[in-house]
Structures are given as C-alpha cells and as structure tokens.
C-alpha cells in the first residue's frame, strides 16, 4: 500500500466506532465528548458562526453549500423562533455514511446539534431520520435521553443560560424527503413535496419560521471544528474543499466500507485502500456521489474527489457515495434500475419529473430488452433535456444524470442490446458470490461480516430468475 493513500485517511467522525459500546454517553465522554460545548458557550453565537465559516466547512449532504454562510442567512430581528433541522433522511442510492455514524456515535451528532443550534439562536431542534433504520432510531433516542439526563440538553445547559429542546423524528419512507423543503413539509405532518424557493428556509422554513437545515454529517463535524479550531480544519483537503469527509465504497471492491479521508483523495487511492477491484476484473463505471451524479469511468480514477475537481470533470462530488461496478455489469441494467427508482420516488408535484421519469423507464426498459432502434437513444436524451432544469427540484435533474452520462461513455453498449436482441451480460457473474466458487474460503473476503462464509454462497437460481418481476407501469408508484 502506498503511504500516500493511507496518509490521506483522517478518522475523526469514525474514530470512536470501534470503541466498546461507543454509542453510550459514558464512552463518548471518555473520549472528551461534550467538552466542545463549553468551548462554544464561552464564545458569542456569532463567533461560532464565524469559526465554521473560517473553517470552510461545506455541506456534506451533496450540494456543498458553505455551512457557516447558510447559518448567517438567519435574520437577527425575526419575531418568530428559529429552528435547526438535521437532515438524516439518508436515502440517495449508494449513500451510506450517516446511518453508520448515528448507529455508532449518535452523541457526536447530538453535540453538533447543540453547538449549531446555539450558533443560530435556535431553542428547538429536530433530527429527521429516515424511518427504515430501526436500530439507528433507537440509538439516537437513547443518546438524546442520556444527553438530557446529563444536562447537555434542556434548560440552562452547562450553566450557560442557553436552553434547547431536541426531538428525534422518524420518517416513513419517501426519498423526496431528503430534499430540504420537502423534509420541512413532511416534518409539519404533510405529504413530503418540495416548496417553491424563495422564500428560502432561512427566512420561512419550519412553521414559516427561520430555519437552518443541515445534513447529519455536516452537523456532526462541527464539534471537531470547535475543539481543534478553524485552521486545523482548513489545513486539510484542497483549496476550496476543506477538511475531511466519509467516503463510502460499495460494490466490486475487495473491502467495501467507510473510509474517512481528506477531500481531494482519488478513487485510485481509495480502491487501493479497499484492496483493489474484485479479483480478475476491472473497473468499468462508478458514481462519485450517488446515483444522481453523472457516472465516471476508469479515465476518472485520478480526479481529486473535491467539489471543484469533480465538477470540472463533468460530475458532482455529491455524498461521496462511490458505487463501484466492474466489467461484468451491464450499464443499461444499472441505469434502468436507477431510473425506475426515480420514477417510483417522484413526488408527482411537477409534470416534467412525474411524466418524464415514467417515459424514461418506458424507453430504457425497451432498449434493455433489445427492442426499439438507435434513434431511441436520441429520444432518451431529448426526454432528459425536457426534465433537466425544468423540474421543481433536484430529483428530476438527478434522474437524468446516469442516463446522459452512460450514453456518453457507453453508447456502443446500448446498441449492443439492439443487435444482440437483449442484454448480452450474465447477471449471475456480477453477484457477491460469483467469484467465490472454487476459491479458498476466507481467503480474501476481509470486510465481510463474520459468519457469512463462502460455503453456501454458490448461486442457487438461474440468472433469468434473478430479474425483477415488478416493472410494469403503474405498479411501482403506489401513492
């Protein structure tokens, strides 16, 4: 392993995850947890905002907006209360960083909430966590309960005179609620549909009051900045993308998992840390930041994973959700499945997204079966053109990313479906157990959960049975 790659690792948020009972208050405090609170309370709230600005922390939920600047948009003279809402509705396909964070160290997030709420003058905060992660909800609630009992939440916290109430709120299954204004509608007990902006949430957010909404990882990063200072944070990363973030590698690498590193690390370095691409195969395509970010290929292995460099190369850093697909994977199959997801999750509010994602699925599904003609690729691009930039929120835009980029890089593969009369790939070759046949058990499957041995991992059903059954129009959208 090159020293350069491992030197870019920077475990801060992940540092405690291997500790015994790391989710408990006792374990968190044993590592100095909640000490940053006193540092923050010794500062004026505006100075905490300035500190986070100076650190250069940018939103970790995908958009990369400067966190401190977002905080500074809160009006000082509002007669209404100010709210802090944490977006922990982690649902972007490929994204899997906030969930393990809240499972292993919920107090990191709670401490971040208290400091951030203090900075913006909020006396009520909410953590909106997706509902489909029961144990994470348990760990969060227990952390909040412990924090109240220890005097980290409630009235006159640490004798500072500052009061804060924090509620953990579980969602109920809707990808769109990760969009900040849809999340607010959902938190108000409504269907989660995005709102027109302006007014922006900083002016009229939750209950039409000034509201800051930040991603869970952004908020969880705040205590470390308060503890170590803005310069410490700003010294890491690249010129305009400061600090560190959790990079989530999944798919066809030997050791998929969470790699917390300085921004600007490359996929080549991350794959090296992850033990390489699956043995005997090569990288084919990958998402830099979840399924809503345009695909990259092997030619992008050395793009620094920071906001600017990824954008310059034609994609988005997004949530650093690096889904790795090797040469066994059919890009058309992958893109069709994502497109079905967007169709299912479209909230129905605007026509380009609601109708457009439906048509995208129709066109792609036919191509995947080898039906249609090459002209359908132009039709697809035209459909994307009618959705991108014309939808109410970023969901519609994101739905087009994998389609346009896959046609850009893999046009021949779409055409091959037409000439082949269907998909030329064998889906069985892509499975997690495909390469374990004949391999020594336990040989190199480091990182897999213990007990999941390779015995019994031989594929049991034929490839054709593996195809999903439910793709007829109308069946997926059950709302």
């Amino acid at each position: 392993m090159s020293e350069r790659a491992s030197e870019k690792l920077m475990p801060v948020l992940t540092a405690s995850w291997a500790d015994d009972r790391s989710w408990t208050l006792a374990a968190y405090e044993a590592r100095g947890g909640y000490a940053a609170l006193d540092t923050a309370f010794a500062m004026a709230p505006d100075d905490v905002v300035t500190l986070v600005k100076d650190a250069g922390l940018r939103g970790r939920g995908g958009a990369g907006f400067p966190t401190g600047m977002k905080w500074s948009f809160i009006p000082k003279d509002s007669p209404k209360p100010t709210y802090l809402v944490v977006n922990a509705d982690e649902s972007e396909p490929g994204t899997c960083k906030d969930i393990p964070l809240m499972m292993a160290s919920p107090h990191t997030l709670v401490e971040g909430v208290i400091i951030s709420a203090y900075a913006i003058g909020a006396e009520r905060a909410f953590i909106y966590v997706r509902g489909e992660v029961l144990h994470v909800v348990r760990r969060l609630r227990a952390a909040v309960r412990e924090a109240y009992a220890a005097g980290h939440l409630g009235t006159d916290i640490h004798g500072s005179g500052y009061d804060l109430e924090l509620v953990v709120h579980a969602g109920a299954g809707a990808y769109i609620c990760g969009e900040e204004t849809a999340l607010l509608d959902s938190l108000e007990g409504r269907r989660g549909q995005p709102r027109l902006r302006p007014p922006f949430p900083a002016v009229a957010g939750l209950y039409a009051s000034p509201t800051v909404i930040n991603n869970a990882e952004s908020i969880a990063t705040v205590p470390s900045i308060v503890a170590h200072g803005a310069e410490w944070f700003a010294a890491m990363g690249t010129e305009k993308s400061n600090g560190f973030g959790i990079f989530s590698l999944s798919g066809h690498v030997r050791r998929p998992g969470q790699y917390e590193a300085q921004l600007g690390i490359t996929l080549r370095e991350l794959i090296e840390l992850a033990g390489g691409v699956r043995e005997g195969h090569e990288l084919k395509f990958w998402t830099p930041g979840g399924s809503s970010t345009p695909l990259f290929t092997a030619e992008h292995l050395d793009v620094p994973l920071d906001f600017e460099s990824v954008a310059a190369a034609g994609s988005m850093l997004g949530t650093r959700a690096l889904q790795i697909f090797d040469d066994t994977v059919c890009v058309v199959r992958a893109v069709l499945r994502w497109t079905e997801f967007y169709k299912h999750e479209s909230c129905g509010k605007c026509t380009p997204c609601r109708e457009g994602t439906w048509w995208l699925v129709q066109t792609l599904a036919a191509l995947e079966k080898g039906q249609g003609s090459e002209a359908d690729l132009d039709l697809l691009l035209d459909q994307c053109d009618n959705i991108l930039g014309r939808s109410f929120c970023a969901l519609g835009d994101g739905a087009t990313s994998s389609i346009t980029s896959s046609i850009q890089y893999f046009r021949d593969e779409y055409v091959a479906h037409l000439t082949h009369g269907g998909c030329p790939f064998d889906p069985a070759a892509s499975t997690a157990w495909a390469d374990s046949v004949g391999r020594v058990a336990g040989g190199d499957s480091v990182g897999r959960v213990a007990g999941d041995d390779s015995v019994g991992r031989v594929a049991g059903t034929s490839a054709s049975e593996g195809r999903r059954i439910e793709t007829t129009p109308g069946q997926g959208g059950d709302r």
């Binding site: 291997a18 029961l134 108000e188 998992g257």
Partner: protein, 219 residues
Amino acid sequence: MAIDETTYAELEQIAARYPQARSGLLPMLHLVQSAEGRVTPEGIDACAEILGLTSAEVSGVATFYTMYKRRPVGDYHVGVCTNTLCAVMGGDEIMATLQQHLGIGNDETTEDSPDHPHSVSLEHIECNAACDYAPVVMVNWEFVDNQTPQSAVELVDDLRNGVERHSTRGPRLCTWREAERVLAGFEDDLVDEGPAAGEPSLAGLRIAAQTSREESGRE
C-alpha cells in the same frame, strides 16, 4: 373497532411533543400501525380528531409514504434491496429466490399455518443506506447484511418457525408491530444489543490505526 383508550392517549402524547401538533402525524401513524397492524380507517379518524384535520387530509398523508401499509403485513416484514448496487450484487436473485420459496409475490404475505406459526411478508425496497454490506435484506427495518439466496431462505424459514434471529449488526428481531412502536417514539429495551458497527464501517479506521502503529514503531 375503535382505537382503544391507551393508544388514543399515546397518540395525544405524540402530538404534544411538537410546537405544532400536526408535526406528530407521521409518528402517530406509526403508532396506529403498531396498535392496529396497519393504517386502519379508525386509526385515521383518531389522528384526524386529535389534530383537527379531516380524515381525507390524514389519508392523503398516509398514502404518500411507503412504510404505511393499508393491508396487513407479516409478523416479519422482509425487504430485499433491489436498487442498482444491491441488485447487481445479488439482490435480484435473492428476491426471486424468496418469492419462489415462499410462494408469494412482491407486497404479499404468507398464510399462518400450524407448521409456520409466524407470517412473513415480502417487499422489494429501495436503497437502505448499507451499500457496503450488499446485498442487503431488512427485517422489520433491521439490517441483515451480506445476504445470499441460501442465507435469506434460512432466515425466512427461521422467522416463520419462531426461531430467534438477530440483526447482523443489531438486536434480536422483534415483530413488525413492536418495531412500529419504536418508530412512533416509544423506546424498547434493545438499544444496547448488537455492535457499534460492522467490519465494513470500520474499514478505513482499521487501516489508519495500523498505519499510525507502524509510524510510532519507526519513531
């Protein structure tokens, strides 16, 4: 059947957690599912009455979110991730195998029988934020990581037969109705079960720790 007094009081308790009571609607509907086994017309009416909404307004919310079920699900609701990454890693094959093994389709539930005292329902789900553990199966919204067709068949057989099973990085699996109660905001006693993290979550940390050990060894 009308909502019982205890549940009604708990619904009111949820609404009281928020500056504006309507914010409680999502957790209230989770509690309705826990008490009733699904979102029933009676449950909708109770929420509407407490929040001063019409039943149509509450129904409009309940039908938007996929976790709310209008038909009963099994004691164990099994979700197989078939979004792209998990599908490619074998989720499609797992889903097909389970459908064949259980003799049910997507969004369907097995019948109770003397041989199988517990029912299981099956649903293909979207990305559940555990891609580094693909392919992923959820049981009552607990993680069952790194599954294979064979392990998933054993899992559902055990669940149907009343054999206790644990999440691969969580507690013993409770019933769907018990899970819904936790989502409504009422704690159970399982928070300290299971590890802090599975191995993939620790992948980067392990390498960094080894690197720093090697460095301090050189100094």
